[in-house]
């Protein structure tokens, strides 16, 4: 026989009412993300060798290799390239992080990425010749 009752939620309602609420009052309170949270991309310019693998694998076409100088390889002169990032298109997938053999790229835990000017989302800090 199905037990028909009304108001079965009342007990739980009072119990929940006396507990603190679970809402985080962001932005007046802090939102804590986990350790592995995939936020904004960051590069260590010293470790980058300009191999261009990140440009090839990026699904969102964020990375453009830009020539920053020239070097001699054998008896030819080749460009030294370094990556420039258009971070407004980045989906924080982390494929470049996985594929970079030199560990130059990391995904930070920063998620508050709104800016006033689109140009400030260009990350050009790797455009220095490291070696």
């Amino acid at each position: 026989m199905v037990r028909r009752k009304v108001g079965g939620a009342v007990g739980e309602m009072f119990r929940t009412g006396l507990e603190p609420p679970v809402t985080v009052e962001y932005p007046f309170g802090k939102k804590v993300v986990t350790e592995r949270f995939r936020g904004k991309l960051d590069i260590d310019p010293i470790k980058c060798t300009g191999c261009s693998i990140c440009e090839i694998v990026c699904p969102a076409q964020v990375i453009t290799m830009v020539p920053v100088g020239k070097k001699k390889v054998g008896d030819r002169e080749v460009d030294i390239k370094r990556p420039s990032f258009e971070l407004f298109a980045c989906i924080s997938c982390g494929q470049c992080v996985d594929d970079c053999k030199f560990g130059a790229l990391t995904l930070t835990r920063d998620f508050e990425l709104a800016v006033f000017k689109k140009e400030s989302t260009l990350m050009k800090k790797a455009l220095v010749v490291g070696k």
Partner: protein, 414 residues
């Protein structure tokens, strides 16, 4: 059906379609508070009773199958997981396993177990989302808030393992991208136990609260004849008593060792769908605990060369909504030649509209949500020429050319 002058006026044209008079047709959608995604349903009403429903799809069509042909194999993982936010991992699992079937490589056992754990976590989150929504459409906002409060536990677990709550990007061609973090095995078991206890409470509440059950009991009655005729999949099929589950019939990932229990019911209404999904979520908690206990050690990923050998592969997974089918064809290059995706809502939408017949307008949100629609997954474009009675599909190039011609004629008559 001949011309019926008493009820809504509809005739059957030579193409086998129903034409109807405007007064009796009530448009539901594409933008409506009870639809998460836009889809157009024309409800033919007799008073307040629905006699016929005509869905018209295509409002969120994004051309993903075509976009997949331009991207390399690994980039497609990120494209495919964004087809749907709720069953995101199922899409990525279907695609990566489908591609791995084209190669001669086998992914390690630990990767299989890790994929199982995240797959079940996603099932829990999807079913909890649906249960909350049913409460919301029935007017029971309190239940909605409580269930989504508990759903946060599963989302926090997903974020701790994969780095993101929705677009998990966890599966890759060759395994998974990361191992479990330290201490996660214990935490998974604790949280799975917590969610199980909460689900027990919700089963008691949703089955007992009279003002809620009278909204769901007897709603959308379907039976085995309907589901067999319309090829339903997923919980909607199981609620009529047919015990079909892809995880059991064609095991993938670790389901040959961590076996799910197939939940069926015989009533075929929304109340039985609620029971089935609750029980499936509870079973997922049990499977997570079992998978964590049985997890083998080893690698979580192998490196597969980027050029996938030529061939075709067909692979299906049990997404939270039903059978999700992937067809991947490779011509040996760096991009796929064809990716075809048939999602579960595509198979269920006709059953969903069949469920609506005979109900009143007040029940449409509850019944339509009962089939757990995900229109973002399913959308297609079909071209229908009513006078000629022909139906055919249109290709991308022809569509683009048609669009250019159409707008240039409108703008200047060139």
């Amino acid at each position: 059906m001949s011309d019926n002058t008493e009820g809504p006026h509809y005739t059957e044209s030579s193409a086998g379609l129903m034409e109807y008079s405007a007064e009796s047709a009530m448009p539901f959608g594409p933008v409506h508070p009870s639809l998460k995604e836009p889809e157009y349903f024309k409800l033919i009403l007799e008073g307040e009773k629905i006699v016929q429903v005509m869905p018209r799809i295509g409002y969120v069509h994004r051309g993903i199958e075509r976009a997949a042909q331009d991207r390399t194999w690994v980039k497609n993982v990120y494209l495919v997981e964004r087809i749907c936010g709720i069953c995101s991992f199922s899409h990525s699992l279907g695609y990566t396993q489908g591609v791995e079937n084209l190669t001669p490589f086998e992914i390690p056992r630990r990767a299989r177990y890790l994929r199982t754990v995240v797959h079940e976590l996603e099932r829990i989150h999807s079913h909890l989302l649906w249960l909350g929504l049913i409460g919301h459409w029935a007017g029971f906002d309190t239940l909605f808030m409580w269930i989504w409060k508990d759903r946060e536990h599963s989302l926090d677990l997903l974020e701790a393992i994969t780095g993101n709550r929705v677009n998990k990007s966890y599966s890759t061609i060759g395994g998974v991208r990361k191992d479990l973090p330290d201490g996660m095995a214990e935490r998974l078991k604790t949280e799975a136990g917590f969610i199980e206890k909460r689900l027990d409470y919700y089963e008691d509440l949703m089955g007992g609260e009279e003002t809620f059950t009278i909204r769901t009991r007897g709603m959308g009655r379907i039976n085995q004849e309907v589901t067999r005729r319309l090829s339903t999949v997923g919980p909607l099929l199981r609620c009529t008593g047919i015990p079909r589950d892809i995880r059991v019939e064609d095991p993938y990932a670790a389901y040959d060792e961590v076996v799910p229990e197939v939940m069926t019911s015989n009533d075929g209404d929304v109340a039985s769908l609620i029971t089935i999904r609750l029980k499936e979520a509870r079973d997922s908690c049990r499977m997570i605990k079992e998978a964590v206990d049985k997890m083998p050690s080893g690698d979580f990923k192998i490196n597969i060369p980027r050029a996938i050998p030529a061939g075709e592969s067909m692979f299906h997974v049990e997404a939270p909504r039903g059978e999700l089918f992937y067809y991947v064809k490779s011509a040996g290059g760096s991009t796929p030649e064809r990716v075809k995706i048939r999602t579960s809502t595509m198979a269920n939408i006709l059953t969903g509209v069949e469920m609506l017949k005979g109900h009143t307008l007040a029940d449409v949100p509850v019944v339509l949500t009962g089939m757990d629609p995900c229109f973002g997954c399913m959308d297609r474009i079909a071209v229908l020429e009513v006078d000629k009675g022909k139906e055919w599909s249109i290709g991308g190039e022809a569509l683009r050319k048609y669009g250019i011609d159409y707008y240039s004629k409108r703008r200047g008559g060139k």
